[in-house]
């Protein structure tokens, strides 16, 4: 697996500092799980963040804070579930799936999806595109992040194989085409509803909740 399309540094810093909303953070966390280069850059940002904490003048703590923390050291704690990678799905995706395989919903023409998270700041989904199929030409209201987990697709931005991340902003109109071979499975986050440019998909948008 040779990853060619990485996370731009500004986006990685937004993730490291906690600014990215959950749908985008899930895509970035998944790419970092697959890409040692981006993991190194991510951890470097965390080290810089840590160095800044070290350099902080600090604020005075309430007198009893240390005692109340020390008193809780021996408390029994419930184990939080730990999710592991399963097949093509890295741990962050398995966590979003709560450890279960995806429940695909058909979108027509063999395309399937499962929405993983949706909130007022955007949504993130798994997309399944049959080999050789084109996804309807679309633009979107804001940022769109697409990470390939299986297969590959190509569009105006180039070829995207396993681990590659495509970042498209509102100005990009693109028509991804899945490569022949394995079905293309992607993790995709958008911060506004996708707007399809052809007539019929636009009508169907509210139905499919894209």
């Amino acid at each position: 697996m040779t990853i060619k399309h990485h996370i731009p540094d500004a986006l990685l810093l937004d993730y490291a500092s906690g600014r990215l909303s959950e749908p985008f953070a899930l895509v970035v966390a998944t790419h970092v799980s697959m890409c040692d280069e981006c993991r190194a850059r991510f951890e470097a940002h965390e080290i810089a963040g840590g160095a800044l904490i070290e350099a902080d003048e600090g604020a005075e703590l309430s007198e009893n804070l240390l005692d109340s923390v020390m008193a809780r050291l021996d408390e029994a704690v419930e184990d939080t579930p730990v999710y592991n990678r399963s097949g093509i799905f890295p741990a962050p995706v398995m966590e979003a799936l709560k450890g279960r395989p995806p429940k695909w919903k058909p979108l027509g023409r063999g395309v399937r999806q499962q929405i993983l998270r949706r909130n007022e700041s955007g949504s993130v989904r798994l997309l399944y595109i049959p080999p050789g199929l084109d996804v309807p030409d679309h633009t979107h209201g804001g940022l769109e992040l697409t990470l390939v987990l299986q297969g590959a697709f190509s569009d105006e931005g180039g070829r995207f194989g396993v681990g590659d991340l495509e970042l498209a902003d509102a100005n990009v109109e693109h028509q991804p085409v899945a490569e022949k071979g394995d079905p293309c499975i992607c993790l995709a986050a958008t911060d506004a509803a996708l707007k399809f440019n052809s007539f019929v998909p636009k009508l169907l948008q509210p139905i499919f909740r894209i």
Binding site: L13, A16, G18, R19, S21, I47, G49, A55, D56, L73
Partner: protein, 196 residues
Amino acid sequence: MGDHEVEQGTSGLKNYSEETRLMLAVRDDRDKRAFAKLFAHFGPRLKGVAMRGGLSSGQAEDVVQDVMLTIWRKAHMFDPSRAQVSSWIYQIARNRQVDVLRKENRPLPEALKAPSEDAEDDAGQVLALDQEVTALKAALAKLKPAQREMVEKAYLGELSHTDIEAETGLPLGTIKSRIRLGLEKLRHELDGIRKS
């Protein structure tokens, strides 16, 4: 803490930073005195940065408690050849702030394999990272106040870019390029030190 490195018998340990040694004592010996020292060091700083990140004094102290308890409970995950105590604290603290301010979970990358058991083998890596971080801190200290402020906002500031814009009245593009300039300067400083 004083004779901990003797107990460990690991040659490189005495050269580790104070925080790394304390954290290893927490990880390997469940040493509560070492934990209290880490608390004394990081607690006030954590509160300071949490308040700068937009939390009230009370909320910031809740974050301090949660972060320090997480450090204690997940100490087995600490790997000094890849992370500083402070960078690990940074990650946990930002997660807690995201949770407090946005009621959101921040997904984290898949964990790499457990820390290596081979302390001798890792000692060189730990020291190399310590040195790199010392260089980074020196580079941070050399920034002009305005650049320093931008870098601090990028890492420790409120949890949205729009807030930065409102605070300074600068357009977002300018903010972002200034953050990049600050980072670039950091990187160049580091390169210069590495080459010398």
